[in-house]
């Protein structure tokens, strides 16, 4: 969780929305190992929205199908706040071909953690 490479710049804060705890922990570990600070992980739309009331992340990693529905409300709020996000969903290609998520990167599942880190760095730059 150090930020030495950023000359004491605080680490970027990444919201993780993922309802499978083991996957959430894997994502969290990958992000913290790479020097990011993790908000969450949260596993429901309700928890994600509540967290966003208190905190604003610099970027987000979103699963799409959650316990209480599709993550879209969270994504809408993030987009309105100008927070970039990347998806990590097992859904098919259609997901990002049309509709709200058109053009958004979906890292797929199982998610390659190195690609995820690379994509987040790209979103933040």
């Amino acid at each position: 969780m150090s930020s030495d490479d950023g000359r004491n710049r605080p680490p970027a804060r990444i919201l993780v929305v993922e309802d499978e705890i083991f996957i959430a922990m894997e994502i969290e570990r990958a992000l913290t190992t790479d020097g990011f600070e993790v908000l969450g992980p949260v596993g429901s739309i309700e928890d994600a929205l509540e967290l966003l009331h208190r905190d604003q992340p610099d970027a987000a990693v979103l699963d799409v199908t959650l316990r209480d529905g599709k993550v879209t409300p969270v994504a809408v709020l993030l987009r309105s706040q100008g927070v970039p996000f990347v998806l990590a969903s097992a859904e098919g290609r259609e997901l990002t071909e049309t509709g709200f998520f058109q053009g958004v990167t979906n890292l797929g599942k199982p998610t390659n953690m190195r690609l995820m880190i690379g994509e987040i760095q790209r979103l933040l730059s």
Partner: protein, 326 residues
């Protein structure tokens, strides 16, 4: 019998043989060169809810206020059949006033009578509305299955990643990893699909393989957990049991664990399921110098589910209090 069989029979001059056409379960209509109905079988009468006397001698396209004047069907009968003699499996979808939206596969065949050279057109309908709907449903189920498979692989991958390697032999790693996979599988089985699980059975399935009858579960008030929470909650208790077996009370012959639960009012209007894990008769407990992955997993899982997990390293035995919203 299919249209070709019928065609062979009728070519011998039996086009008016009502007995033959009525053996067909699919609707069949026979037209003359002007597309007027010369015959229709019982299946046709039933399927389209028409009266035989109202249709015989009338153009198919004028029947029932023109409900049969379907562009695709007219193209088939008036344009394609005169040129090609036979067409099989031509799909026509139409909203009929009497029977609603239907999709048919239409077989059509031109029939020239050997005796007088007059031409008939046999038109056979197969209603595929239902089977098309079933196919669409099975496509959805297949997509859902694919989605779940990918998720399952991700979970297994994540379990492999979170099973500690540092300071462990390959054998130990494999046992720990497989232990977690077994718990995930057993947990799936006690809450298949979208059902919920009774908390007592969940605990039993989660710790029985590791602790056997040395973990005494005291039945508490009735409580159920929705299926998405069953695997993570089972994993927490599996981790506690595994730790007890390795370092805690279950590492010695006389050691025991008492497991009990109660329901409490939490913050706001939340109801909390509070489970107490109490180890007894074990070796003297010392505060661990570092947090193992198992402990980390328990804490993270409780937090992820909106609850908390607290472990007290009392010298007489470890106590864990796990609170989960229900």
């Amino acid at each position: 019998m299919v249209l070709e069989d019928l065609y062979r029979l009728l070519r011998a001059g039996h086009v008016q043989a009502q007995g033959i056409v009525d053996t067909l379960t699919q609707p069949l209509v026979v037209l003359d060169q002007g597309f007027c109905v010369t015959n229709a079988n019982n299946a046709f009468i039933d399927a389209f809810k028409v009266d035989r006397d109202d249709i015989l001698g009338h153009s198919l396209f004028s029947l029932g206020n023109g409900q049969w004047d379907i562009a695709d069907l007219r193209k088939l009968i008036a344009e394609i059949i005169p040129k090609t003699a036979a067409v099989v499996g031509y799909e026509v979808t139409h909203d009929f006033p009497t029977i609603g939206q239907r999709t048919f596969l239409v077989d059509a065949r031109r029939l020239v009578h050997p005796d007088n050279n007059s031409t008939s057109i046999l038109v056979l309908f197969e209603d595929v509305t239902e089977s098309n709907r079933e196919r669409a449903e099975s496509d959805i189920i297949l997509a859902e299955t694919r989605h779940r498979m990918k998720n399952l692989f991700s979970v297994i991958r994540a379990l492999a990643m979170q099973t500690q390697t540092e300071g462990y032999t390959a054998q130990e790693y494999r046992d720990a990893f497989l232990g977690r996979i077994d718990v995930a599988l057993r947990a799936q089985e006690i809450a298949p699909g979208e059902t919920s699980a009774e908390f007592g059975s969940l605990l039993d399935a989660a710790v029985a393989a590791t602790g056997g009858n040395r973990i005494h579960i005291e039945a508490g008030p009735s409580a159920t957990l929705p299926s998405p929470k069953v695997v993570p909650v089972s994993m927490m208790f599996h981790e506690l049991a595994t730790n007890a077996l390795k370092y805690g009370a279950l590492s010695v012959p006389d050691g025991r664990v008492r497991l009990s639960w109660r329901i409490e009012e939490g913050d706001g209007d939340r109801t909390m399921l509070v489970t107490e894990w109490r180890e007894e008769n074990g070796p003297t407990v010392r505060q661990p110098t570092r947090r193992g992955y198992g402990t980390e997993l328990i804490t993270a899982t409780a937090k992820h589910l909106g609850g908390s997990a607290e472990q007290r390293f009392d010298p007489r035995g470890l106590t864990a209090i796990i609170k989960l919203p229900i």
